[in-house]
């Protein structure tokens, strides 16, 4: 091919626009938050920084970072400015190859976040050694979920048990689990043909999967 100057991902690599990240992580995520965090540098460098007519393109790792940051924020119930430095480091931990099961989180005396990492206990923001105060098992749960999803390359779409974003299938486009059927396309068929006809066209799908795809895409359907 000669020298390539543009962007080229590998087959099996997930790639996401900002609206797609927001759609996958609905209902708590929106495009404004993702763009803000991207511009603040919390997500690292995108696959492609957008310009007029060309959307930002994010990686599967960045999709997981957005979800992890959001989950940390909701759990800590603190304003973004206060937790941003800690979140930036915390969100990197699952991707740093650490033995995640050995990490535990806690709140320090000053109300910041601490981590116990294989016998070393320090405050995340300053990396100063501290004495643990209140343990935060919720943070451990979030981090465990992130690490699991990173390893399998799949994000389950919450509230929609039949839908996933699998980074290895249609580059992470939301699909019905264990198929390559995109939710956007099935919703489109439902909109044009109705649920019953869609089930006739794709007989290996069941009603729940089709209805979840339509609902996820905001397409109304008759019961």
């Amino acid at each position: 091919m000669g020298a390539r100057r543009g962007i080229l991902i590998a087959l099996g690599e997930g790639v996401y626009t900002v609206p797609e990240v927001a759609r996958i992580l609905q209902p708590t995520m929106n495009v404004y938050k993702v763009r803000y965090w991207l511009n603040k540098g919390l997500l690292g460098k995108p696959i492609r920084r957008g310009s007029r007519g060309r959307p930002h393109l994010l990686s599967f790792e960045q999709l997981l970072k957005v979800r992890t940051i959001q989950d940390f924020r909701e759990t800590l119930k603190l304003p973004l400015q206060r937790v941003t430095p800690a979140i930036a480091k915390l969100s990197d931990i699952p991707f740093a190859g650490k033995d995640w099961h050995k990490l535990s989180f806690f709140r320090t005396e000053e109300g910041r976040i601490g981590v116990s990492d294989n016998g070393h206990t320090y405050e995340v923001e300053t990396e100063q050694l501290v004495i643990p105060e209140a343990v935060l098992p919720e943070l451990e749960d979030i981090a465990r979920e992130t690490r699991r999803d990173w390893a399998r390359g799949v994000v389950d779409i919450r509230k929609y048990s039949r839908l996933v974003s699998n980074s290895k299938v249609v580059a992470g486009s939301p699909t019905i689990r264990e198929t390559r059927l995109e939710t956007s396309f099935i919703a489109y068929v439902v909109k044009r043909e109705g649920v019953k006809r869609t089930l006739e066209m794709y007989p290996y799908l069941d009603r729940e999967a089709v209805e979840q795809a339509a609902e996820f895409e905001g397409v109304p359907f008759a019961a």
């Binding site: 543009g6 087959l11 580059a171 486009s173 264990e178 198929t179 390559r180 956007s184 396309f185 489109y188």
Partner: protein, 139 residues
Amino acid sequence: MDENVTGLNLAATLNARIEQYGCTFVTFPRDAHQGAPDEDVPSIARAVGATALLSINVQDFGAKDQYFRALVDAGVSVVSLRIRSSDTGDREYITNTLLKHVRKIARTLNGTSESVVISVDRSNARSASLREILDRELS
């Protein structure tokens, strides 16, 4: 034809109308293709003798375009029919749009030695090689 397209049963309809263009539509075997990872798509295409993958796309073209580039890089051409929200788009619309451009699609696929992306919409069918796409991106 990608898994999305299989339910529309387009192959028979299209093949009945395009025989003279030297181009045949085939449906990927479901047992091999259903839920298959992207990395398997080139080998599935080769197994059925397909030079191009037909895909119908409803939204978020930006991310999907990257997937198509990766397929082209792996040696599989892509025919991407884009349906916009303003299109009336039912099965008949999809069939008619493809039929409208099928001669150009067939000519392009038969006339090139490298893999290409052919973007099809109601009014046009444009083809580009990977090099052209990547160069255009930075122009």
